[in-house]
Amino acid sequence: MQRGVSYWVMAPLRWLARMADVPLRAWQRLTGQGGMIALFLLPNMAIFTVFVLVPLVMNALYSTTGGVEFFLADRPYIGSDHYQRLLDCGSYLDPLSCRDDMFWTAVWNTARFVIFQVGSIILVAMITALILNRAIPAKAFWRAVFFFPVLLSPVVVGLIWKWILQRQGLANLGMVELGLEPVNWLTERFWAFVAAVGVSVWAHMGFYTLILLAGLQAIPRDLYEAAEMDGTPPFRVFYRITLPLLMPNLLVVLVLALIRAVQIFDEAYVLTGGGPGTSTMFITQYIYEVGFANLLRNPGLAAAASILMAGVLVVLTLIQLWLSQRAGKR
């Protein structure tokens, strides 16, 4: 008998499942349904507990202990020193006046990044979603075009753009062709930051476009037909129908994009390595460097910084849950 690939993948799995059934049936007889529930939950919950819940609790302990050791028992309790160090600032607006100037540089870089990245993403994703919602041919193809970079790994994204933005790269060829001066995209503070924002928008906007598109397609057509009968100008149609009805999706997109942007690390790290200087050093990189770099290793400080960051994320997530719940009720 001819057998396909899926048979050879599934057959051993089926056999294993059948073998597993014998002891499991005995267990079910012994403990009843309650025992089975426990058994079904066990693998996931065990892994979840060990690798998510325990670290969450430990994070708090780490942030109140000092030293360079990773083993918690070797770390002396120092109270809120790390938090005091992180929050000790002459002026919060000026990183250089802070005791931990690197942290505040990272904070302000991240804040700036979040504002520009999320702003551009929403603008670009919104326009793209509106365009993809029109009666254009080959819709699935265009949707896929804008979605493609979302699947690429941050390392690949970073390297692609590093290759294009380098001194003798394609981007500068374009600049020269346009009669402009070539730009040191990755070695000038200002342009490196612009590149980090732009590359990250390129890599993620397709994801938000899809969510907005789904929202646009859920708006009933007869509303538009009615507006058209009344001869409503297109701009007012957008302002009075599309925007209000899309608002729940737009807010979810906004908060999701914010949550992601706060955690920016990979693409920027591959693209610029945080540099030049500290111009593209973001909070996650700060946590990584302070937690693991041999020279300035201070796991407690990194943990304290991550707890401060988690505070921001918790607030954002609560807003998001609340919004999506409200959107679900509508």
Binding site: L24, F40, N44, L53, V145, S153, G158, A310
Partner: protein, 359 residues
């Protein structure tokens, strides 16, 4: 009405967007803006990746060239006295052109010789009087050499192992938990759900330090399992599968129980096959997530032979002597699985995202 011509049909197709408003005839300025956006977007979204692929076939000399060419060119060479010499077209003093090989170059003067008659006199030519003869050649050695020279194959194997194992375990454990949370009523169910939803918000970067120490305490440091295990109990997966399993009617399960099926059999033979669409979406996502992971493997793996592709690539790119011709080729290889997923499963992914907001 006459049959529309091909051109007319095409025009109508292109402006068809006005659908419900216009009659599909004539261009509105919004049509033009739409097509500019779509075509410009295509160039901007696909262009960089395409440029990477084209560049990956260039030789180091071709890569260093400015302005860069679209296709990979290399200079033709010829054997002169047992050595490879580059070929040029030389403009002679009388204005005629001749194909010659360069023996050596001193400052701005090149010593050229006719490759067909190398015994003839050596011509001294100003280097501005000659242009290299080039041909399109794909530098496949960019792809073959990393496999032999570096630990590239090792990295590839590590990445495949991590991706496959993590996806299998994710699917199994998440579906079991989702089954328990959707098909049984028990005390504490809501508490478990709440816990899972609450941790949806915990990104890895927040628990980086303690997670490292947990992994180190369990002896998984510098092991691929240390990369795999922390990622498999994803709350997103449990949440997605549970929402899907809630739509499977309980009557099916009760009928199976009447036939003395064990709970495990109900899970394995009824619920899992019925949840196949949701499992497929999660599987695709898990593959993409794990293949692309960077920060966590970077922290856990410090032994070079355990590096995944993404870490290995970044290490190469960070080394002082950036060998772009190898890096570009390896980046293309790292892109291949994702491009395959994209080409074959893009419909499911986009539907999955639009429906669940998952990434």
């Amino acid at each position: 009405m006459a049959e529309p011509t091909g051109g007319e049909t095409l025009m109508r197709w292109l402006v068809a967007r006005r659908g419900k408003t216009g009659d599909g005839r004539g261009w509105h300025w919004t049509d033009i803006a739409t097509w500019i956006w779509l075509i410009g977007g295509t160039i901007l979204m696909f262009g960089p990746a395409l440029w990477l692929v084209l560049s990956s076939f260039k030789t180091p000399a071709g890569l260093a060239e400015f302005p860069p060419t679209l296709l990979p060119y290399t200079q033709q060479t010829v054997q002169v006295d047992g050595a490879e010499k580059p070929l040029f077209t030389v403009t002679l003093e009388d204005g005629s052109e001749k194909t010659m090989a360069e023996l050596r170059r001193v400052g701005i003067v090149a010593q050229m010789v006719d490759p067909d008659a190398p015994e003839d006199e050596v011509l001294r030519v100003n280097i501005s009087e000659r242009t290299p003869i080039r041909e399109v050649r794909f530098a496949l050695e960019n792809y073959t050499q990393p496999f032999l020279q570096f630990d590239f194959l090792l990295y590839l194997r590590n990445s495949v192992f991590v991706t496959l194992m993590a996806t299998l375990i994710t699917l199994l454990t998440n579906s079991m938990a989702a089954f328990a949370l959707s098909k049984y009523d028990f005390r504490g169910r809501n508490a478990v759900m709440l816990l899972i939803i609450a941790t949806l918000m915990v990104p890895l970067s927040v628990i980086l330090v303690p997670l490292y120490s947990v992994v180190s305490a369990t002896g998984l440091l510098n092991s691929l399992w240390g990369v795999i295990l922390p990622t498999v109990a994803t709350p997103t997966g449990v949440f997605l599968l549970r929402q899907y399993m809630l739509t499977i009617p309980d009557e099916l399960l009760d009928a199976a129980r009447m036939d003395h099926a064990s709970e495990w059999q109900i899970y394995w033979r009824i619920v899992l096959p019925l949840a196949a669409p949701a499992l497929a979406v999660l599987a695709i996502f898990s593959v993409v997530w794990r293949w692309n992971d960077f920060l966590w493997p970077l922290v856990v793996l410090s032994r070079k032979e355990l590096y995944t592709l993404q870490i290995g690539l970044n290490t190469y790119a960070g080394e002082l002597n950036v060998q772009w011709h190898f890096i570009l080729a390896m980046t293309v290889v790292a892109m291949i699985p994702v491009v395959l997923v994209f080409v074959f499963l893009q419909r499911f992914i986009t539907a999955g995202i639009a429906g669940t907001g998952l990434k």
